[in-house]
Symmetry: C3
Amino acid sequence: MTTDTDDRITKIEQRLQYVEDQLAITQLLASYGPLVDAGRADEAAALWTEDGSYHVERLAMRTPAHIAAMVRSEEHQSYLTGGSVHFLGPAWVQVEGDEATAVCESLMVLHRDGEYRINRGTASHFRLRRTAEGWRISHRESALLDGSPRARALLAP
Amino acid sequence: MTTDTDDRITKIEQRLQYVEDQLAITQLLASYGPLVDAGRADEAAALWTEDGSYHVERLAMRTPAHIAAMVRSEEHQSYLTGGSVHFLGPAWVQVEGDEATAVCESLMVLHRDGEYRINRGTASHFRLRRTAEGWRISHRESALLDGSPRARALLAP
Amino acid sequence: MTTDTDDRITKIEQRLQYVEDQLAITQLLASYGPLVDAGRADEAAALWTEDGSYHVERLAMRTPAHIAAMVRSEEHQSYLTGGSVHFLGPAWVQVEGDEATAVCESLMVLHRDGEYRINRGTASHFRLRRTAEGWRISHRESALLDGSPRARALLAP
């Protein structure tokens, strides 16, 4: 094999890795809404690293076990039995080696009394890490888009 | 060409094929909302295989012709002339060879009396197949996210 | 290097380029909502080419400076301080060499009096161009999905 060929192949492998990383993260985040709206608590929690955390407003979930507990909570279960859509928009992803960040906005829609209403609009900032099992969320920080500067600050990778 | 080079290139081709498949399916599903909101009945129906079907609640569309007829129906046309947004979220896609599944949630928003309101929130499960013309939907099953266990069951690939 | 190997590698490079282009455009459009909801006027404007334009209903923004001015306008700032979600759906993208088109639908959600309501549903058609700095929007045309044939006409690449 000539050096030239080797270089071309190596460059392709690097570019392809970046593309695969972006897609893997996009897919990971695309699975969050369906998982929590289906009530699959353990699978939703497994999107995080073992030391992963999720802060949303005053609720600080410090481990995946806390995230699973949130999905199993009476409040979340009442969403499911009434009908809910955790609707995350397309993620804006930036990968740097084995770390990545992603930003997205989301709507939470609840079905009540025969009507679908937006319960909240949220800004989310994700930090992600490459693990032996693939990309996982190491931290998610979310805040309501209710005019607070804090939520707007989350909208940058 | 050394065996080593050949192996590397073959592996790249396989990885690239997977990435292209994922993107093709993502794009196919991203076109559904714009097509039905534009009233492009035949193009929307052509997202399905020739033997493709689409079940949503009590409506069983058994062929692409039935799907085109749905878009041309008086009910759907009234959505268009009033203003509608069939808003599908990012798809969660799993490809296995020439078959694939995809899951997404969606909102249907209608414009009426100068206001935009969510008419329904829906869970959709797609089965897809690779054809000579590219990926097509072989079956779509949708159900309202109104608390029914049936809708929640669709939210897994 | 054999001609056969060279051909395979060249073909891979072309396919990979197409995938990268699609993803770059998807990512560019995924950043628009977060940027304008964060009030990052210059970064939002920098998504466009230097001669880029954005027409939405009766508002014709003929340069990136006009787009930045729109984000800084009293009206847009009132959205931010009240809470807003510019929610763009997954983009339907078609790349042809150094030009591309993309189509998506979007919802603009405003937070007012403690409630989140859809302010408008919009159809958008983007023309994009490859520049030395990557893909940029050369023209965005948007119209309200309020039943007008004009908005529906934008929903095709």
